[in-house]
């Protein structure tokens, strides 16, 4: 067995237990500061009278082109969404590219064009960038880092610690589309299933929601690790229990079928165009109505509620009315999903 203490394992990048150990064991001590320590999707900054959100993410998805998108679009939407989840309007992005020697020029053009289109669609500008080329074999095809800055909506104050007993948990649509699309592309599968990544910018949806209610406590896009991991993190950070209902969580039949076949649980599969919102119960209807107006929130539904019992734990009422724990997953996510 590889020694966890000696070497980096793929699971250290998986978003599960080992990722957490890496962040709290190495990152936090190295950079020691109060803002990083909040561990939000992005950093919340007060600069003069301005409240800004600042976030960064690196994309290594394999394959780089997949049904429903490509690495460029994903890189723009991903950072746009991280900023949106801070309750901010994303404004400016940077793009850093690491390209492998020999990568097809036409593919690079396609990826950049798609980044441009994605930025236009999200209403952000890519204002600075950098490109490095490394020898063949040193990196696989292309990796992209994006960072972004956004301005936090006036009066908005979101954080993963703010879920409260009595909040409704809202999910913006069907889950597991992105992750299963990528996996299916990678497996040499003997069958065809038409899956599509859900990659999309969520900033307009978030703006509608924040306009509809001042009682949204937490926003989170359940990417790597899926809805199951995101809910667990919020349960821990807010020290509350979360109860969800399996029959209210939408999974497209084709996605559910592939999950079954490959032995994945949709709850832990990555999404790239979905969000979870924790909203004070009396405001849930208003927020839902606003979400239904947006193409990214058409299928939004209340999937559960926050409870005082069992802080730090997510429990699911199953389709047949039984109940079970939804644990934090350890070391089972596959690499290079995003």
């Amino acid at each position: 067995m590889a020694d966890k203490k000696q070497h980096i394992l793929l699971d250290h990048g998986g978003g599960g237990q080992l990722s957490h150990e890496l962040i709290s064991g190495l990152m936090l001590p190295a950079f020691r500061n109060d803002i990083l320590a909040q561990l939000n999707d992005g950093a919340l900054l007060d600069i003069g009278a301005n409240r800004l959100a600042f976030s960064t993410d690196t994309y290594v998805v394999d394959p780089v082109f997949f049904p429903g998108g490509d690495i460029g679009e994903l890189a723009v939407n991903g950072t746009v969404n991280d900023i949106a989840m801070c309750g901010a309007v994303p404004l400016f992005l940077s793009a850093g590219l690491v390209v492998e020697e020999g990568f097809a020029m036409a593919d690079l053009e396609k990826i950049l064009a798609s980044m441009g289109r994605a930025a236009d669609a999200a209403g952000v500008k890519v204002v600075t960038g950098d490109t490095k080329v490394v020898p063949r074999g040193v990196a696989d095809k292309i990796f992209i880092n994006t960072s972004g800055i956004g301005q936090i909506h006036a009066g908005v104050n979101l954080s993963a610690e703010k879920a409260r007993a009595g909040d409704c948990v809202i999910l913006s649509g069907s889950i597991a589309d992105h992750g299963m699309t990528i996996l299916l592309q990678r497996e040499e599968m003997a069958f065809e299933a038409r899956l599509q990544s859900d990659t999309a910018p969520l900033n307009f949806l978030v703006a509608r929601m924040l306009a509809a209610s001042g009682e949204i406590h937490v926003l989170r896009d359940p990417t790597r690790g899926g809805v199951g991991s995101a809910l667990n993190e919020i349960a821990v950070q807010s020290q509350v229990g979360i109860r969800i209902h399996e029959d209210r969580i939408a999974v497209k039949p084709a996605v559910a079928g592939v999950c079954d076949l490959l032995g994945f649980e949709p709850l832990y599969v990555a999404n790239e165009g979905k969000l979870l919102a924790f909203v004070a119960a009396p405001h849930a209807e208003k927020v839902l109505a606003a979400m239904h107006e947006d193409p990214c929130g058409r299928d939004a539904a209340v999937i559960g509620e926050v409870v005082a019992e069992n802080p730090g734990t997510v429990v699911m009422e199953t389709r047949i009315g039984g109940s079970r724990i939804v644990p934090m997953l350890t070391g089972e996510q596959l690499p290079r999903i995003c």
Binding site: M1, K4, E187, M189, M316, I320, G322, I325, T330, G331
Partner: protein, 363 residues
């Protein structure tokens, strides 16, 4: 049942109705074993235990194909992968199972050609497309997968694909049921018998077992309602002192099974004594490739010399598979053995009891 095109009952109502009937039927504590790993997972995923009265204890049995594969067999798979020009094709679950010194996954990371496939026929295709490689499919599993593997061997013979072979490590369900009863130490009041295996071997295959040991047995499907229905039937038999075989999965499982699949299986394979992890050798509980097809038998094609080994120290997989221990009763469970860092196969396979407990049980 539907009324105006809509189900007359919701799944929750149906499950609640089953649960109420099960409660009515139960007179005394009973221990029921679900033999099949797919049942174990369905029971956990659906939270079925939370609907049952406290008198019913569900035990997981030796029905996860990866879990029952002996350490020695895993070592043989790894030895095979190290032979020059060999491509090993296997089901994904096997990749992470620790052998004595390595796993197929780390062998793959070291550059050996190991591919994940979903059926033996995929492996046959790899062989057809790579004539310079010697492609070996690792045949693990129960009667469910054996016929397809037999078919791949027959096809290889027909099409003259001579760079294909199978390392047969199959296990058979009825013999291990008998071994469970003989082993003593586990008190079992009834068996929930596997659906998929029964599709192939038919309900008839269990009759000798039920007659010899006089124990209630019910063949069950995999939906939550199928399982609840089968538990109800078992509970009623236990309460009334019954010892019958019932088929609660008639929409798929027939009395005689699938004669074509069985014939194919018997054309290619014959029973052989086989090693089970943590249990030991059980007579006529495995399958070996018949002489007529020996040129597709990886055990014959490659002179594999793998030393006998025991189980990983401290791993209680054998006890878990036999229902003698629940995973939390294993000293390594959660402390040292986790899905990220598994010690035994029961923590690796998605159908393994330890992995299921870890994922869904909560403590």
């Amino acid at each position: 049942m539907t009324v105006n095109g809509k189900p007359a009952y919701s799944r929750k109502e149906l499950a609640a109705a089953f649960a109420a009937r099960i409660r009515d039927a139960v007179r005394r504590p009973m221990r029921l074993m679900e033999v099949c790993g797919t049942h174990t997972v369905s029971i956990f995923r659906n939270g079925i235990r939370t609907l049952l009265p406290p008198e019913i204890a569900l035990l997981s049995g030796p029905g996860c194909p990866v879990c029952v594969t002996a350490q020695q067999e895993i070592d043989a798979f790894i030895a095979l992968a190290r032979i020059e020009k060999v491509t090993v094709a296997t089901f994904g679950d096997l990749m992470r199972v620790p052998g004595t010194l390595s796993t197929l996954r780390s062998e793959k990371a070291d550059g050996r050609d190991i591919r994940m496939v979903y059926s033996a026929l995929d492996a046959l295709n790899i062989a057809a497309h790579n004539p310079d490689r010697r492609v070996v499919f690792i045949g693990v599993g129960f009667e469910t997968t054996a016929p397809t593997i037999a078919a791949s061997i027959v096809m290889a013979a027909d099409r003259g694909i001579n760079n294909f072979s199978v390392l047969a490590a199959h296990k058979l369900v009825p013999p291990v049921l008998a071994a469970l009863m003989e082993s003593g130490g586990v008190q079992i009041d009834g068996f929930l018998l596997p659906g998929h295996v029964s599709v192939i071997i038919g309900a008839q295959a269990y009759l000798p077992f039920v007659q010899q040991y006089g124990i209630p047995c019910v063949i069950a499907g995999f939906e939550a309602e199928d399982i609840l229905n089968a538990i109800l039937k078992l509970a009623r038999q236990v309460a009334n002192g019954g010892a019958r075989l019932e088929n609660a999965y008639k929409r798929v499982v027939s009395f005689e099974g699938n004669p074509r699949a069985l014939a194919l299986m018997h054309t290619v394979f014959e029973p052989v004594d086989a090693p089970w992890r943590g249990i030991g050798t059980i007579a006529a509980s495995g399958l070996k490739i018949r002489k007529d097809f020996s040129r597709f038998d990886a055990r014959k094609v490659f002179a594999l010399d793998v030393p006998e080994t025991g189980e990983p120290p401290g791993c209680a997989c054998g006890d878990v598979l036999m229902g003698r221990k629940t995973p939390p009763q294993c000293a390594l469970y959660k402390r040292i053995c986790t899905p990220a860092n598994p010690v035994g196969p029961c923590m690796v396979s998605s159908e393994g009891s330890c992995a299921a407990y870890y994922r869904y049980h909560g403590d």
